[in-house]
């Protein structure tokens, strides 16, 4: 459904995306993981049209997205959320979601009805009339998800929708995301919460310093020494192995 091939992006001397290629299957949940600053959000920004890649191609159902504006890409069926939540602070929850719903609904009533249905789906039902600025962090994350979902996307890019949530809130949002996939939406998520990645995704890619260093099912990735080193530093995998050995002998 989405094919990213040999994608590269530099910011001055920093290579933010270095020859990255991956393919996302329709109907799947995939995860993009990696340490802070690995370039995950930059890849999202390129897929969604906020940054133009320096090289490489992004194809969505066979059509190249390079050079299209974010609004055009959204119309084609790719919606994204922002890691730093971007609510329309002066509007209430219903009106916030309706902006997304209006993409494919011209009438106000139809858009508001759709917004309400989406709000109930992500658990924002009781807060429909609250100003967006009055929501808690968990509420804002849900609103971010609801706004994107209201555009009826085929592919949903979720950028750390669980960051800053407590374990109970994470447990609430995992079945919501699974429900979205069941309704036929393909999902690509950036996430640091490994419990969620393990729980949700069929496939994961690991990014470090702008380049992909591993790919596989979440459990394969968790056992990959390169991945452990990327997160915990050079030699960490060997040290961990040694500690495990020691523990066994003791």
């Amino acid at each position: 459904m989405l094919e990213v091939s040999r994608l590269s992006k530099r910011f001055g001397g920093l290579v933010a995306t270095n020859d990255v290629s991956f393919t996302i299957q329709e109907g799947s949940i995939s995860a993009l993981i990696g340490p802070n600053g690995a370039g995950k959000t930059t890849i999202f920004a390129q897929i969604s049209g906020f940054h133009r890649p320096d090289a490489g191609d992004i194809r969505f159902n066979g059509r190249s997205l390079v050079g299209l504006t974010p609004e055009k890409i959204c119309l084609l069926g790719i919606a994204r959320t922002f890691q730093i939540v971007q609510p329309f602070a002066g509007l209430n929850v219903r009106e916030n979601i309706a902006v997304g719903a209006h993409l494919r609904r011209a009438g106000r009533r139809a858009a508001l009805e759709h917004a309400e249905a989406i709000a109930h789906r992500v658990g924002l039902g009781p807060q429909l009339d609250k100003p967006a600025a009055a929501l808690t962090v968990a509420g804002r994350k849900r609103l971010e998800l609801a706004k994107a979902l209201a555009t009826d996307p085929k592919l949903l890019l979720l950028d750390e929708v669980m960051a800053g949530l407590n374990p109970a809130e994470i447990d609430e949002i995992i079945p919501i995301i699974r429900g979205i996939r069941q309704s036929g939406v393909t999902i690509l998520l950036i996430e640091h919460v490994m419990r969620a990645v393990m729980n949700l995704s069929d496939h994961a890619w690991v990014l470090n310093n702008g380049a992909l260093i591993a790919s596989g099912t979440p459990s394969q990735i968790a056992a990959n020494p390169q991945v452990i080193e990327a997160y915990l530093g050079h030699g960490a995998a060997a040290r961990m192995q040694a500690q495990i050995q020691e523990a066994r002998h003791a």
Binding site: F88, V99, R108, P131
Partner: protein, 326 residues
């Protein structure tokens, strides 16, 4: 629904005013308050709903005023025709300005400065050309009667402006319940987030500035028939721009009734100021300045927001923090 009822009530209450009020002074006062409400409504569309703070709405007002005056004097066009063409001409100037400014992503204070500069450029141009009467200005011939939009009684202008303000109230009501309005407010609140939801900010802002310009231009056309005179300072000077933005800021940005409320309040204060200080030139503007500071500090949502938390201070803060976005 409540808003719609309020709009109808407002028009019905004011409708018989000229029959009940005998004093010419008060009818003129009401007429001018309605005129500034109308101008403020134009500004509110772009500034209040779209978050684009123009400091040069005189650009549109003046274009409309000159357009109708020139067509009338040099080409003998009927004033009603001039009214329509004034709105079209000012709308085109709005579209042109918007195309230039929004194309390059100018926001916040940069947008404000460019509109201010454009109005100033037009003022200098109007000062230099023969067909605009240069510095002397243009005198529109007196032809009393409905046919030339010059009414024999004060009541005529009052009713004309009441109809225009009423039409604008209905337009704003529609805006609040339409996709275009939802998109405009989304752009005001957060442009990147709006883009991520498929809203084209350039297109949205361009429509808003075109409509806002057209309304301000039609206000200029009415002004010319009311005062029968226009010169570069009245048309393109900063006074009209300041009135246009002060009215909705005082009344309540991005609200249906804000400009109407603001125009009546501002006009009452200006009248008190005139009584207190006499006609000393410039003192009115000092008063306006103090008022603006007080409003931003203590009533960011305008008079309309006295009991309601909505939007206001945030966008003013953004105005000064804002900046260019490529």
């Amino acid at each position: 629904m409540r808003n719609l009822t309020a709009i109808i009530l407002f028009c019905l209450v004011l409708l018989p005013a000229p029959l009940l009020i005998q004093s010419d002074f008060w009818i003129t006062w009401l007429t001018l308050a309605l005129f500034y409400a109308y101008l403020g409504q134009a500004w509110n569309l772009l500034g209040g709903y779209g978050g684009q703070f123009s400091f040069g709405h005189a650009l549109f007002f003046g274009t409309g005023a000159y357009c109708t005056a020139i067509l009338q004097i040099h080409f003998g066009l009927n004033a009603w025709g001039g009214f329509v063409l004034a709105a079209i001409a000012a709308g085109l100037v709005g579209a042109g300005t918007g195309w230039l400014v929004f194309r390059y992503g100018l926001r916040g204070s940069y947008f404000a400065l460019v509109t201010l500069a454009f109005a100033e450029v037009f003022r200098i141009l109007a000062n230099s050309f023969e067909f605009t009467g240069a510095g002397v200005g243009l005198l529109v011939p007196l032809q009393p009667g409905f046919a030339q939009m010059q009414f024999e009684t004060k009541a005529g202008f009052f009713w004309l402006l009441l109809a225009l303000v009423g039409a604008c109230l209905l337009f704003t009501y529609w805006l609040q319940n339409a996709r275009f309005g939802a998109r405009l407010m989304a752009v005001r609140e957060n442009e990147d987030a709006a883009r991520a939801l498929g809203v084209d900010p350039f297109d949205t802002k361009l429509r808003a500035i075109t409509a806002s310009g057209a309304i301000a231009g039609s206000a200029g056309a009415v002004y010319v028939q009311l005062f029968l005179y226009i010169d570069p300072n009245i048309a393109y000077g900063p006074a009209m721009s300041v009135e246009a933005l002060l009215v909705p800021i005082i009344g309540g940005l991005g609200t249906i009734f804000g400009p109407v409320l603001g125009a009546f309040a501002l006009h009452a204060i200006a009248e008190i100021g005139r009584l207190a200080f006499g006609d000393a030139p410039g003192l009115n503007l000092v008063l306006y300045g103090i008022l603006l500071v007080l409003m931003v500090l203590f009533l960011p949502n305008g008079l309309f927001g006295l009991g309601k938390v909505s939007f206001g201070l945030g966008s003013l803060r953004r105005l000064f923090k804002g900046g260019a976005h490529a």
